[in-house]
């Protein structure tokens, strides 16, 4: 019994150390477990990692420099534009991708508004919202790539399948974002209008949509940007857009052209991302800033406020 006391203090101090570093220990354990699972997945053949470098070197040797002929007019069908670029594969493919994303975003937004207003628990009875939520999550459970495969089987190759696939996914994804935005809104306007006897459609159009419009618009822009990014992917299964050409060149092992198209996609997506960010800064909650000049569109709300303050101070002195 006498010996047990120092033993227990040693145990206690060990426990203390474990307690202090418990988060670190947990992360290390998780990482170790991930390595074990990975080992099982690849049957312990870690040597393939080393072999990859050679393949990477070959890929870059074949694809660099990129073949910028994708930016020139294609030979068939005949180009009747004065500038050859407007007949190029990169331009036509990217334009089709953007068009698919645009149409799908608009249709999906309309569908999502209707469904999300039926899925928000503060607007409809519990059982209705559960049914609609299951529908929305079913639409979301398949990525747009799988929807695209399905619609290519039903409607054949081309942009129609792409538009439908993206519209479905947009409804599922945007619907979830929107019903969360609607549920997050203040309950007082809803209560006031419900007690006065307004009908549900009237509450939706007159109270809910104006009150959540900032969120809805910001989500609409985000979804457009997301759809442009995914438009390149769904083209690979033949649903139109630049991805269609990318997958064609991949099958022909023309890696230099693929690389050029990938760079074009990258630049366009980054540009759309930046524009979308700028537009969204108009409509977010703290971005309630008047921007009288186009110069400040690309500023953050805070900087825009400061800029206009400085300007108005200077003008005031004149």
């Amino acid at each position: 019994m006498r010996d047990s006391k120092p033993q227990s203090t040693a145990l206690n101090s060990a426990l203390e150390v474990v307690k202090r570093y418990q988060i670190l220990l947990f992360v290390v354990l998780l990482a170790f477990y991930a390595v074990v699972v990975m080992n099982g997945l690849i049957d312990g053949k870690w040597g393939r990692l080393a072999g990859g470098w050679e393949n990477l070197r070959i890929f870059f040797a074949e694809s660099l420099p990129p073949d910028w002929s994708v930016l020139e007019a294609r030979s068939y069908p005949e180009c009747n534009q004065s500038i050859g670029f407007f007949c190029s594969i990169a331009y036509l493919g990217m334009l089709e991708t953007i068009k698919i994303a645009f149409v799908a975003t608009i249709f999906g937004f309309i569908g999502a508004i209707l469904l999300s207003s039926l899925a928000a628990r503060n607007l409809v009875p519990f059982w209705v919202s559960i049914i609609i939520r299951i529908l929305l999550s079913a639409m979301r459970s398949l990525p747009s790539l799988i929807w695209a495969i399905l619609f290519v089987i039903i409607f054949g190759l081309g942009p129609l399948a792409g538009v439908l696939a993206m519209t479905f996914y947009t409804i599922g994804y945007l619907g979830k974002l929107q019903y969360e935005a609607i549920e997050g809104m203040d309950s007082a306007p809803l209560e006031a209008s419900r007690a006065t006897g307004l009908t549900r459609p009237e509450i939706l159009t007159n109270v809910v949509i104006p009150e959540t419009s900032n969120h809805l618009l910001s989500q609409l822009m985000f979804m457009f940007e997301y759809n442009v990014r995914h438009g390149t992917v769904i083209g690979i299964v033949g649903a139109g857009g630049i991805g269609y050409y990318i997958s064609n060149y991949l099958n022909l092992f023309l890696y230099d052209k693929v690389f050029a198209l990938l760079l074009v996609t990258f630049i366009v997506v980054v540009l759309i991302d930046m524009i979308s960010m700028a537009v969204r800064s108009f409509v977010n909650e703290d971005g309630d800033v008047r921007r009288p000049s186009w110069l400040t569109v690309f500023f953050s709300p805070n900087r825009a406020v400061r800029y206009h303050k400085v300007r108005s101070d200077v003008e005031g002195e004149d």
Partner: protein
């Protein structure tokens, strides 16, 4: 004998456990009633039960006003659409008491249902789809046009008058979130004025107001009560309640105690 607008019979209110029980009250036309008591005692719960937002635990609420537009409800947080303009918010009150817009809204909903059904059966190549689609359009589109036209008419008459009454005509197109607290309360008052309900239920609607704003709000509400509307207000300031109300209810030990005030 004046008309009774509201009867509370053996009412027990609360969320899961009873907060206030055994409420037996009748509210007549033109009365102003104040519910007074410290916070957390169940004043707002009574108001919310009268507004039909929570179910009574026991007993019944008999509202003898029109189901649509007959009850004006001003919650403590005012319930304004913050991102919409002052005019939009006041118009909300006006359309809730308009029978024309109610009819149009009903036709619009029926039209929309028919449209959806017709599109659904169109998918299965049903021969009834085109005529149904046409019928849906004939109900939907005119009712939308009627709603817009009539709403604009309301904006020119009732809404404009209500805005003048509370002195917010210059701020017509300003979003409500940019207004000060007192101005927002004036917007909520104007919304109730445009609605002109027979029974107004207002939660703490005079609190946090300076004297000038309180006078504007009170005068606007008086205009309604003089025209025959009744009002139930929650108030924590008993002095102010005495100066405004005809009857005062106080909550003591989970039941209502009534106090009648004789105005000089």
């Amino acid at each position: 004998m004046t008309n009774t607008l509201l009867k509370l019979n053996q009412l027990v209110v609360g969320y899961s456990t009873p907060l206030v029980s055994d409420i037996n009250i009748q509210v007549h036309e033109g009365e102003i009633i104040a519910i007074v008591g410290p916070s957390g005692i169940g004043k707002t719960t009574i108001i919310r039960t009268i507004g039909g937002l929570i179910r009574p635990i026991d007993g019944s609420v008999e509202l003898l006003v029109e189901p649509r537009g007959g009850l004006g409800y001003v919650p403590q947080k005012l319930g304004l659409v913050r991102h919409a303009s002052v005019e939009h918010n006041i118009t909300l009150g006006a359309i809730s008491s308009s029978h024309t817009i109610q009819q149009a809204s009903r036709f619009r909903s029926i039209g929309l249902c028919i449209l959806i059904v017709s599109l659904g059966i169109w998918f299965f190549k049903n021969p009834f789809a085109p005529p149904l689609f046409f019928l849906g359009c004939m109900l939907y589109i005119p009712s939308i046009i009627a709603t817009i036209v009539y709403t604009n008419q309301l904006k020119k008459t009732v809404v404009k008058q209500a805005m003048e009454d509370v002195g917010l005509t210059e701020k017509r197109l300003e979003p409500v979130r940019r207004l000060s607290g007192g101005q927002q309360r004036r917007v909520a008052t104007a919304r109730t004025l445009a609605q002109s309900p027979s029974l107004i239920v207002a939660d703490e609607f005079l609190s946090e107001l300076d004297q000038a704003n309180a006078m504007i709000v009170l005068n606007a509400m008086r205009k309604l009560t003089d025209a025959g509307s009744s009002m139930i207000m929650v108030e924590h300031n008993i002095e102010r309640a005495r100066s405004v109300a005809d009857r005062i209810w106080t909550i003591k030990d989970g039941s209502l105690v009534q106090e009648v005030i004789e105005h000089a």
